[in-house]
Symmetry: C2
Subunit: 418 residues, 2 copies
């Protein structure tokens, strides 16, 4: 069979499965999720054996140790996937919920009811656990899903797909509700992105290169974020102890992720007292600082920040620092250089807190909290399928509810339009 | 200036205006809307004079009488636009509303706050009143808007833009919040659809040809519907009087619109008694019927429906009729031939009503009401910017709320992630 036929058959059968999925009761979906979790644990050895084929091939192809580590399925990886599915089973089912209801003057009762989106395509890089995490969330929300992982993880993803498929079959669920693309060729991604009749949404997960490739080539709506250039603004009169704790956590706790701090903005009256001890603490933790002119007047040993630093998503122990005249300058800097991801103010001033929240244009705007909380789990959405920094459909972390939409339901007694 | 420069300047300045718009208070926006309404009425003569230039040119170019009628601005058109703006001013402002709020175990207070989408592009055909209707809704929701009307309406749209611009200037609002593309070349549309950095959403309004052109060429998300192939299913045991009233209204009250009835489905036990008087009433109103074999057994003079009839959006006094064995066959027919627009059941059965509502995949699913109610105004959304039959972001009629999104707002007291 040609790749073209494989992909178009997958898309078509996913659409058919999605009709059945949309009608499936919550408790049935939850029972299947739990059964998949149990089966993953029971079949751990077989999954790891398939994973070793990927690892061997990866070594031959010269993948870095870091990439091999990401690719590797350890016993803890399997426990993690299984526990993740059990947590998703515990979430509230968004499908069928009536989000609003009202009655018109003519007696029509109008409401909005949550329904699944339909068919979702997930395109991701090497970590095979995404196969299970993403499939679980899409399934919970009543969607069919087509998963396209990295070509280096094909054996692992196929093994996971086999486990899922056997549980779906035994449970009398549509087997095509969860499918893994069974070929390595990159052409498969191209073809997937053209199935606009049968796929409703594409979610790419991975580096900026992958995401740009998907956006450039997709005829299907894409939810994604390119990068997280997150700021903390330390306001005049802020509690310095709190500010130091938040900035340190935001930068250092896990520097390689999208919600880590990349640029610190400090009010000019706060900078002389706040920056020296903050810089000491950063430098003790191995963080390299790059500062504006005023920062370097206060911290003479700090290197000079260039335009590229204000735009940088370092994903590393590097931090750009800028002293600003006031909150307006801080917000203007975020507007110009930020990525609409996460912006935080540390302040003690009620009016500026309110104004910051209203005026800053980012998917998550925070007062007195670490940027690291921009995460579906941390914000209470349950597991997350990703973060969106474009505004259509979803803005910010996306949980199971963001994998649904609403339809209008109208109950009448014979009303006609005059 | 080249068209390329014109369009990219418009997009860039719209983005800048959108920042100011997002911060604008409700009462200020409403005052401006009312002022524009008053000014439109005051400047009616000048607008009509400009409109006459379009009409003259249209006549020279051989536009049909129907098209000239759509293009023409009469005193009632101006009153209609002005009253529409006053109604939009009366709507609740969605911006700033907190749609949900909860507290995390660590004390973080998380909420979702409505914000404008940003910059919206509207691409439409000849009716110049869309310029004002669409601008009003986008403005109310705190967005900047770029309007591209039909080239045959350029003088009229420019005249309307002048009125709007002068009110924005006088009111101290960003003048670029509402802009009309000032050139006729179709190239302008192409260029507009490529401004993905500065335009967040495109809404095309017009015939299927225009909409397909926009979807094919846009790098920006598009909200649209291609067509409305709407069904009424008359169930076994339905109240025939109610069914007749609903079917007649759905087909005849305004056959040229997307929420008009196109195919009637009748349960086989209902058909023999229901169809003959229904057919008489339709035929008396000049409706041509095209039926399946069973329909033609009951109504021998009815022409034969072909596959093309089940797919047709007639927008005319023609109706396809099919007798079905049960509700499952009716739903299967809707799934296969429908356009996810509007589907109605006429029934007296509680369980089938519930099942129909749950299982039918359409933007508006109705029980015992005319399909003609799929309309933002009729369903209580206030004015509508259009109808979406794709599921992402909005599904069904789109009011002012659908021109917004939500951001997360997080209030903390120094929380960091462990």
């Amino acid at each position: 069979m040609s790749i073209e036929t494989i992909i178009s058959n997958m898309a078509r059968s996913a659409r058919a499965a999605s009709v059945e999925m949309a009608r499936c009761e919550s408790r049935k979906k939850d029972a299947v999720l739990i059964k998949i979790a149990d089966r993953l644990e029971a079949e751990g050895d077989r999954i790891q054996a398939e994973n070793r084929k990927d690892l061997e091939r990866g070594r031959e192809m010269g993948l870095s140790d870091a990439m091999l580590d990401r690719l590797s399925i350890k016993p803890a990886t399997i426990t993690g996937m299984a526990d993740g599915l059990r947590e998703v089973a515990d979430l509230e089912d968004p499908v069928g919920a009536v989000t609003k209801s009202w009655t018109r003057p003519n007696g029509l009762q109008v409401s909005r009811m949550r329904i699944p989106l339909g068919v979702i395509g997930i395109i991701y890089e090497s970590r095979p656990n995404v196969t299970i995490d993403a499939a679980g969330l899409c399934f919970k929300a009543g969607n069919a899903v087509i998963l396209r992982g990295g070509s280096e993880a094909l054996h692992s993803n196929q093994a996971l797909a086999d486990v899922v498929g056997s549980v779906l079959r035994e449970s009398g669920m549509p087997e095509k509700a969860i499918q893994v693309v069974p070929v390595r060729d990159r052409e498969a991604v191209h073809l997937l992105l053209k199935q606009e009749e049968h796929i409703d949404l594409i979610i790419p997960r991975g580096g900026e290169g992958l995401i740009r490739f998907v956006v450039e080539n997709s005829k299907i709506p894409v939810l994604k974020h390119y990068k997280g250039v997150c700021h903390v603004y330390v306001d005049e009169g802020a509690d310095f102890q709190m500010a130091e704790k938040i900035c340190f956590n935001a930068k250092v706790q896990r520097p390689g992720v999208c919600n880590a701090l990349e640029t610190l903005l400090v009010h000019e009256t706060a900078a002389p007292a706040f920056l020296p001890p903050m810089a000491d603490r950063f430098q003790a933790a191995g963080v390299e600082l790059r500062g504006c002119e005023e920062t370097r007047r206060i911290l003479p040993r700090v290197a000079e920040a260039t335009e590229a630093d204000w735009e940088a998503e370092y994903l590393d122990l590097i931090l750009a620092v800028k002293v600003v005249a006031d909150m307006d300058e801080a917000i203007a800097h975020m507007t110009r250089y930020g990525s609409s991801h996460t912006e935080t103010i540390v302040t003690s001033d009620y009016r500026r807190a309110r104004r910051f929240v209203r005026e800053v244009d980012a998917s998550v705007v925070m007062v007195n909290a670490s940027t690291r909380f921009n995460d579906g789990g941390q914000l209470g959405l349950g597991a997350e399928i990703g973060i969106s920094t474009s505004k259509l459909h979803a803005f910010g972390p996306m949980g199971v509810e963001e994998l649904t939409t609403t339809k209008f339901v109208v109950f009448g007694d014979g009303q006609i339009r005059e």
